[in-house]
């Protein structure tokens, strides 16, 4: 009986430790952390720099630049990425930073859609996200966003794929343990878009999530699909209070 109680206590302790949110950076090796901390050597900053140029560039039939409406990004975009995904009254849905940039490009600039994971889309995402660096994630999950939030939480807990695993089985119950040569993180979305060593390029959280679907041998949801948006909303809520590090570096 006493032994059972000890085991139960130990289990409780593990759960309690696992639930304190920690940035994915803490699960990375020393060299990755050093690379992210150095704004010059951080390769993700190449994209942010390109995004800064794209911000000023006039495009589309309207011949407008981002700056024509939004002014300087340092002021107008401060904090924006930390609040997303959020309900969008014009799109009448929960939308991500990527979707909002894309909607602006099509609707306001009259330009062609930015394909998901294209250099142009990632560069602007990186530049806009950079303006919220260091700010705590804080997303609204009530009101009209509630349905998406519930879907995200549901997906996070649902077993999928041939491996029959849900997100929480690795990123909550096994976080901190070693999987092959990697330490399993808590799956906190603070660094995205991030430069991932495996890709040797900048990628969005959607690309990273799709990689997880592939990892458990499940069907990958399409870019900008409701499932991925819902997961992003749930993950951002779960990471509440953690500081945004974008554009970060990950293994």
């Amino acid at each position: 009986m006493r032994r059972l109680a000890a085991i139960a206590l130990a289990l409780l302790a593990t759960v309690a430790v696992a639930q304190a949110p920690r940035s994915g950076l803490e699960f990375q090796s020393e060299d990755i952390r050093r690379l992210q901390a150095d704004d010059f050597a951080n390769p993700a900053m190449l994209w942010a720099e390109r995004g800064a140029a794209a911000w000023q560039q006039r495009r589309g039939t309207a011949n407008k630049s981002c700056a024509d409406c939004h002014g300087t990004a340092e002021q107008s975009m401060r904090g924006v990425a930390a609040r997303l995904p959020a309900w969008d009254t014009r799109l009448m849905s929960v939308s991500t930073l990527d979707q909002r940039i894309n909607a602006c490009t099509v609707r306001e600039q009259g330009a062609a859609e930015l394909p998901p994971e294209s250099e142009a889309a990632l560069a602007l995402q990186a530049y806009v996200a950079l303006q919220s660096r260091g700010m705590p994630l804080r997303v609204a999950v009530d009101g009209p966003a509630q349905t998406m939030f519930d879907l995200g939480r549901e997906l996070y807990r649902t077993r999928i794929g041939q491996m029959n695993l849900a997100c929480m089985h690795c990123h909550e119950q096994q976080a901190g343990k070693t999987l092959l040569a990697e330490r399993i993180s808590q799956g906190q979305p603070t660094a995205w878009p991030a430069y991932r060593m495996e890709w040797q390029a900048l990628g969005s959280i959607e690309r990273r999530l799709r990689a997880c679907f592939l990892g458990v041998r499940a069907e990958m949801p399409a870019y900008r699909s409701a499932d991925l948006v819902a997961l992003q909303l749930f993950l951002a809520w779960r990471a509440q209070g953690l500081a945004l590090e974008a554009p970060g570096v990950r293994r």
């Binding site: 010059f40 050597a41 390769p43 900053m45 190449l46 720099e49 390109r50 250099e119 142009a120 430069y195 040797q200 390029a201």
Partner: protein, 111 residues
Amino acid sequence: MSEAPGIGRIRVPPRARRGEVVEIRLLIQHPMENGFRRDPLGRAVAKNIIHRLVARYDGREILRAELGSGIAANPYFAFFTRATASGRIEIDWEDEAGVRGSVSAPIEVSG
């Protein structure tokens, strides 16, 4: 990755004392294709690496590098030189597709 090759960032200390050793840092956005990869349709991706990189200080060559396919995408370089006179540090490079890129930054030397 290769929509706009030749993009790079350079960092040179803006001011230095004469004779001081300064660090020059360079980051280039380049795929550094090693020729062993295949695209999603299974076609071989042609080898394309930056094979030549030259740094000049006021026109005088201070560093020349011949790079190989063992260097990762988006290569980062750091090297040192002695500040002799005010001028520009210019770095240019060329990849195997013949695309060239260059960056430069001024340095002001006092004393």
